[in-house]
Point group: C4
Chain length 252, copies 4
Amino acid sequence: MGFTEIVKTEEVQLENAILLEGLPGVGNVGKLAATHLIEELNAKKCIEVYSSYFPPQVLIDDDGIVKLVNNELYYYHGKGKTRDLLFLVGEYQGMDSSGQYDLCIKLIELVKQMGVTTIYTLGGYGLGKLVPDPRVLGAATSDEIVKLFKGAGVEFIDGEPGAGIVGASGLLLGLGKLQGIHGGCLMGETSGYMVDPKSASAVLKSLQKLLNIKIDLSELEERAKQFDSITNQLKEMDTGESEDRPDVNYIG
Amino acid sequence: MGFTEIVKTEEVQLENAILLEGLPGVGNVGKLAATHLIEELNAKKCIEVYSSYFPPQVLIDDDGIVKLVNNELYYYHGKGKTRDLLFLVGEYQGMDSSGQYDLCIKLIELVKQMGVTTIYTLGGYGLGKLVPDPRVLGAATSDEIVKLFKGAGVEFIDGEPGAGIVGASGLLLGLGKLQGIHGGCLMGETSGYMVDPKSASAVLKSLQKLLNIKIDLSELEERAKQFDSITNQLKEMDTGESEDRPDVNYIG
Amino acid sequence: MGFTEIVKTEEVQLENAILLEGLPGVGNVGKLAATHLIEELNAKKCIEVYSSYFPPQVLIDDDGIVKLVNNELYYYHGKGKTRDLLFLVGEYQGMDSSGQYDLCIKLIELVKQMGVTTIYTLGGYGLGKLVPDPRVLGAATSDEIVKLFKGAGVEFIDGEPGAGIVGASGLLLGLGKLQGIHGGCLMGETSGYMVDPKSASAVLKSLQKLLNIKIDLSELEERAKQFDSITNQLKEMDTGESEDRPDVNYIG
Amino acid sequence: MGFTEIVKTEEVQLENAILLEGLPGVGNVGKLAATHLIEELNAKKCIEVYSSYFPPQVLIDDDGIVKLVNNELYYYHGKGKTRDLLFLVGEYQGMDSSGQYDLCIKLIELVKQMGVTTIYTLGGYGLGKLVPDPRVLGAATSDEIVKLFKGAGVEFIDGEPGAGIVGASGLLLGLGKLQGIHGGCLMGETSGYMVDPKSASAVLKSLQKLLNIKIDLSELEERAKQFDSITNQLKEMDTGESEDRPDVNYIG
């Protein structure tokens, strides 16, 4: 077993809370959506998770201060019809299969104690081509959540994604189910070629309905417009040219 | 040590049972044979095995419900001259050497408690060329089982397979022997180029004699015929062409 | 967990000591600087660290005597305004992420007991081109040390190094901070193409001020001159030739 | 930690014994030498070591019986001036660094209990070119053994091998030294291109003197002659041809 240290920066207890996972992945869709929501809701950090399953690396901020790479939890106390929320974000997912499993098992145990009863994981679904109008696809651990997601406009397509869901977005659901915590995954369609704010915006529109919150998407949509403008320019440059596509680095 | 969780979905005790392993491997021969037999005998699931030695992945069924990848055990209570049977199937083998060993050790301990006294592992023997009439090759942990297999038409060829048997099909026998459980491996010859129902059918014909059961092979043989028809078309396309064979992806 | 054995060759207790890490890395800048300082100060070995996170390898000295690869600690009792020093040097860093974490955690625990209260890590910052006049860049775990480093001429540049610090030089700071030990990293600019005594010399000039010691740099500067002479010859050979640069082996 | 099981097939106690390691390596020199000596001395098997650090693989003998890959110890009770001997042989070394360390630590503990007080490791020293007259190079953990080896015609060359000794042949010495067991390594020069009976024969000639035994080398020398004849034919075929040498697979 590797080293994992959970540092509580604030003691927090939630009630019937939803965990929202937004770790890096395809198109960084989940990360963009979760960090946008953290900022909009002004959610507060309460947990730092350090682990030997992350790279042996420190990051440096603009003041020259180093910070060991980690995962972090942010909380938001729900008001009215909005449930308590806990956000899982960070620079990395666990680096190998055993790291993924060990971290997800520890995180589920932790968030269960903190009051989490539902897990929504956020991610991108890479199509390998530009997606002018990304849909949000779903998968869930129970028929109830499938129904709930469908009611929020999330689409379920037979046999999609064919390879299932790989990484924390899948594992938190699969392992959560074994621990009696149900949940679902929201996957924004994305090319997979670059960070995709438009897909993140689509995911957040589904989340608005699911969480009964109003989210200001103007900043993300501004970035999405810039994104569209750039991809249109790229498309024009591409017209009449070879079909050979250069190697693409998936964000992973 | 990694994480491995054994979930009993039904409490089952067998007597003098045979474990039949059919995990994915060359030509998926063992998997095809074991899953066909499970369906024919209407064997029931009793155990799910989850492990960090499998990929961090969930699969999605047609209703949008996620399922963590796993291995599963199915049981069949024998009648008359047929012994009790326990089937080991799944989407993956353990992903690395230590995973293979750890899972096989845990599985042998488990099935021993459940009443297993013999292990038959089912697999494919990749020849790297089309096999019109696949033989079934054998290997075993004792002279008695070699004799038994020979009586069922299984062939033993000096020094074949030269590389021995790699993966669960080998390890369950080798580690089982250390635990006093004897057994053998049935390997259907196969090209290794694709999933091979004809080879699986040949393995099942040997199993019919070894297990004293009658298995309806018509569905597998129908698929084998389609397989032959496709490979014949490929052969015709290939005639007169270069001997250079493109890289072949073994199913592993 | 892997095997790690700490052999004390001399029982040493220090007071308010600084750990100076100089393990192999980019341009071997940290290693050159630390070993030069060990020789200049005539520091003595007190600890050998053996570990399965190092390669399974012995080295052979000129008398034919084998020595298992390891990391070693050397100590120096400070005089006057110079604090006690402890040097960490060796042939290798831990070979993978979990090895890096496990070794750094064990080393921090060990040096804390020996009286270390500050950690300075020494390394190179690879620019991928020749650096006629290398600067020394800094990063630290606290504003106090940033200020201290700036006072010694160490430069802090927004967002540099962009990838943060990877390996022991980063991890000792990040994990040390979690244990309440503060510190900083001194990075000499270097091409990264070869062992770089000039960059090591620059790092030592900063250390002179930080440690209140006078270090004879003549030997390193002699090697740096030879280094300059060779690179100038290479540059002349390169003039007018293709921009294609051959593969470069980073040390490290 | 991985799985390692030590099976005693015979209870054996030795006195002041020498461990002779001959696991697979460059040119399989050590393995050839050790297995030849086992046959010549009619040494008997007493220990089988199974481990998850070996591949998940069974081998199949000519009777169709499977055998899990392992390492084995063979013993020989010395007569007159010949000390007790214990041989370590097998199909594989541990597969990664942590496997190498863990197995060597366990083996040293085991053989110490069995009465081993000295370790000689046997290996090949790959030169990357044909070696008409292979020398035997040495390395040792003490000046006494260096002297002893020199007296048996073993050569010590400054700084050779430059990379030290990698794998079990090095690690058993390095870790043994930490446990107070001294020893040395005999390395027969070899091309590294193929299994090399001539180099093994050279190593055995040194061992004859060191162990005070007479070994019949006729069979190995016969194989060495065939080897010479083949390499001479290859050389003739090579004459006048390109200097480009194809990739060589070192036996590892």
